[in-house]
Assembly symmetry: C3
């Protein structure tokens, strides 16, 4: 346990020094990048009104967890709390990401989150187990299960089973994150990972859950910086083909 | 060397505490994820009969190496040995992954594997160099070389050269892993990385090497959890289009 | 700060022992991989004349930064300096990669680069801020801005804005890296990440910036080893469809 704490202390220390955009350029190996992060990313991107800072934090944290960027995570988890993401929501987001980016990406991030919670005075014992709410529209849920079965039931019965139980029958119904936030996190994971095929379905679902098309466009803008321009352009093309308007 | 050992000790320590699904929820930053790993992943997924635990370990290790998840690797390498993957096979799998996920992903994982071997009493000096067996079907091998040349010989002569020598003319012939296991590892790497274009060719080859279509379906199920749902759905669509039956 | 230095010392120590291809096989957990790296990668690939070692280093560093392979980075950053990539160019490359692979991947790599610069006696204070040169062809720049607006201006106005300002109106004009090197880095990031859709545009731009089609083919060869065979084959198919000749 001592070694483990030391590892996390290191990550926290590296986060303090390497991110946050306040390192003097004379100490930076990449002074232009430092400048860009300061002026363009924090000076301009995060201040844009098309998406609030809380949502930007959910999007950014998703990108970092999906990409396994553990060194910057302490900084961004802390910023997320500061931007109004509640501890329970942050825990819910990491759990949600587990299903869209793999449980190991989430488990590694969980170790960082535990440390950030400790530093910020969040008691782990205060984090209640989220509960799945009853399905609101039973007919729609049944239709969704049938779509899953017809899509992958023959080729991968296990995938169909867990999609209809653990994923759609439990995770998406849990009360620690709103459906809108789940869509925000899911869409961010898809864009970050280049899962272009699934973007239209989940953007459509997100609109149904209360996301505005203009917010989706700004999620893409945020991820241009945090997942790279190519992922953003591929996502923009997929969303453009949907012809949405606010 | 001391610092290096320390780094590995940290990874091992973090693995013990963060993975394995036995951390009390009161100590978890993501209690639902802990619960899901315990009940759904280890309680249900790993117990399914559609794929044995040894194969599940090969699939899971491949996903972690391909995704660079070094913190969970000590736990999964150890579990793989426990599930009957032999040390020589584990070494062969990491080497195989090097060609499908990049040599640096494999080299970073090798550092973790060396530590796990030490902890489990596997002597590194006992790991013999695998040898390439003679080609069984010379005509088929010649045909394969010609396909490679016609596909990429003009645009990237170097890629064609190394495909026909290092990859198909050496790696795939080595005696430390069966062709079936090589297909299992290759297919797992492709699904994990979202290399959808190459899935049909390698699933076809895997069937020829003894994998059953139902096993391929369960590889997809396992990877839904370890590489995320979107990769699993894209893979399922690619395999479904092949119309395979056991 | 002490913990941070320790973390970097560990990475450096692990790099020395795990990469560089000179570890005796008796100490390797994957003796065949060690052999392949020694004989095929360093003995053959890096010696091929189709691409010089300086360019191979830019390509390889890009792959490692894009994939977040921080443990091998100290070795490859050092090799890049040895192969003639100037410190200012290496800083410029990492900054460029930030836009194509996400700023966090670059920020994590920056921490490693700072350490390598220190070890190699490169003064951080000697790294000047690169400056954007005036646009050479104003009409072409205007046309490019209009293409961006027509592609993504409606669906993501923010993405269009930052593409036309921070990316094309600043980064690509900076004097710390030639346009040819920027194309080399961009193409390498695209291939590594599997951004197949964007490969034709950037290979076309790269040819305009002085890259030869045969060099592009050898970039693909280099990345077969450093990003894996599937990425190389997908890239080769995309470039083949362009029908280029030297």
């Amino acid at each position: 346990m001592k070694a483990y704490s030391l590892f996390l202390a290191m990550m926290a220390a590296s986060a303090t020094s390497a991110f946050g955009a306040d390192k003097p350029n004379a100490l930076a190996a990449t002074p232009n990048l430092n400048n860009d992060v300061k002026q363009v990313v924090f000076g301009e991107l995060w201040e844009r009104k098309e998406l609030n800072k809380r949502d930007r934090s959910l999007v950014t944290v998703t990108a970092l967890v999906a990409q396994g960027q553990l060194l910057e995570l302490p900084f961004q988890f802390t910023l997320a709390l500061e931007n109004g993401v509640k501890p329970q929501e942050l825990a819910g987001a990491v759990t949600h990401i587990a299903y869209y980016s793999g449980i190991s990406a989430a488990a590694e991030a969980e170790a960082v989150l535990a440390r950030v919670f400790q530093e910020q005075g969040v008691e782990l014992s205060s984090l209640a187990l989220a509960q799945a709410k009853p399905v609101a529209d039973a007919a729609a849920a049944k239709a969704q299960r049938e779509v899953v079965l017809s899509m992958v039931g023959d080729v991968s019965p296990g995938l169909a089973h867990f999609s209809n139980t653990a994923l759609n029958g439990d995770l998406w119904l849990r009360d620690d994150l709103t459906p809108r936030d789940r869509s925000l996190v899911t869409i961010s994971a898809l864009i970050t990972q280049g899962n272009v095929e699934q973007i239209p379905v989940h953007v459509g679902k997100g609109i149904g859950n209360g996301l505005k098309p203009s917010e989706v466009g700004e999620v893409i803008t945020q991820l241009a910086f945090y997942a790279g321009w190519p992922r953003a352009f591929s996502a923009a093309a997929a969303v453009k083909a949907m012809n949405l308007t606010d």
